[in-house]
Assembly symmetry: C2
Homo-oligomer: 257 residues x 2
């Protein structure tokens, strides 16, 4: 998503050239390219698909069919992890605890289906500024409270610095997640202000914002996380630029932090 302007074959070629060993993919470009063809393209280049983004939106109609399809697509891609953005309040509702209960129920309905296909669901707590319209799961502890009802090989969490950096309880929650083998995804983005209208596409280049990303990387290392580290920047300014240049720059930023 950081370089969504790059067609999949170019992205794969450039990752190989730069020594980037894996890529997280999003469903829309994968569907356009075809899941089987995308899987072959990435695999033949010697790369891995780190995660598929995203399932979720459990508080809107049609969630079950859509999420089973997402699990199937993840399996076809050869990744082991589907990231979940759980959805906000149902239309017209003000019942946040109710939305959270509905999300937990939906994940319970999907977990065995995912596990049977070798896919781990990774509940991603989103920043509280998205609680009403994108994700009612706002903290890592909330995500773990749900995940821990299921086997770790079925349900875990996504640790994304952009969403969690402000939370003084998040570091302990990372330890809790790691102790249970539930850190299924780790993503980096920096926090920069002012936030843009709609607050969706203003994630900062690594090292340009308020988050001590090196500290977070160290924390994940200390708790024994050895999985991929993704960089996920939703950023209109980056998307308007040359994708290869942004990819190179992102790799440099990544190595610095």
């Amino acid at each position: 998503m950081t370089v969504k302007q790059l067609p999949l074959p170019v992205l794969v070629e450039q990752c190989v050239r730069l020594g980037i060993p894996g890529i997280g993919l999003w469903r829309e470009p994968v569907r356009e390219y075809g899941a089987e063809a995308a899987a072959a393209l990435v695999r033949d280049a010697g790369l891995t698909v780190t995660t598929l983004c995203r399932g979720g939106f459990f508080t809107t109609d049609g969630w079950e069919e859509d999420n089973r399809a997402a699990i199937d697509e993840a399996a076809a891609l050869g990744t082991d992890t589907l990231v979940l953005v759980s959805g906000g309040l149902p239309a017209g509702s003000r019942d946040l605890p109710g939305a959270r209960a509905r999300i937990a129920d939906a994940i319970g309905a999907l977990a065995p289906y995912a596990g049977a296909r070798g896919i781990r669901l990774a509940i991603e707590p989103l920043h509280p500024m998205y609680a009403s319209d994108r994700c009612a799961i706002s903290t890592l502890d909330q995500a773990l409270d749900i995940a821990e009802r299921f086997p770790a090989e079925q349900v875990g969490v996504t640790v994304d610095t952009y969403h969690l950096w402000w939370d003084e309880n998040a570091p302990a929650a990372v330890e809790r997640a790691a102790a249970g083998g539930r850190v299924h995804s780790f993503q980096l983005a920096d926090w920069t202000t002012p936030l843009p209208e709609g607050v969706l596409n203003g994630r900062g280049r690594l090292g340009t914002g308020a988050i001590d990303l090196s500290w977070w990387a160290g924390l994940l290392e200390r708790v024994g996380y050895t999985g991929p580290v993704e960089v996920e920047l939703f950023n209109d300014a980056l998307w308007a630029r040359d994708g290869v240049e942004v990819l190179e720059e992102t790799l440099e930023d990544f190595l610095k932090v």
Copy 2:
């Protein structure tokens, strides 16, 4: 602030006409009018000044002199409460725990000065989307962790629905605050999306957003809060309209929720 387009004498006159018994004032208009003159204007109309907004910004230079002045102004106005917006990260810093420690130290330095003048400091946790640039205190529990180091008549908290509604721990924290006699201010605003650029001036009219405001009002009643209930809407669209009309509409919204 909801009707900042109204000059203070008009605001006072209209509050009297509508039966609104008190108003929360901001420092800038009070300074323009003169604190003593503003105090006389409000008092002579039979209204109370519910709070003065705001002190704080403890992570920037000059905080101590400015906050002592704010406490003096609050005392001159005849209110008993100064709301604190504590400030974000110091320029160039990524040390969020350090900023929080600095805030706690600053409040400790001010608390006796405030108490001696009959002013209660009300630490306001702001929504986590302001953590970097306006307020590193993001939850009611964090605010209470600081407030409880001092006597309740010196330091308490502000409960603002806009900032706290997403936090599943906030209701228990309200009970904790009330048990200690530390709910020094209660403010209402609704959460509406999309958020505007800068995320400052998009607070929703009561009843138009995602927050179950009646539930929050009921919670404050259940825990024994009997103080004023303020409506604080930062909203460019409301500020662009006729202030008296907005005041009337806000009162109607308030009574409905």
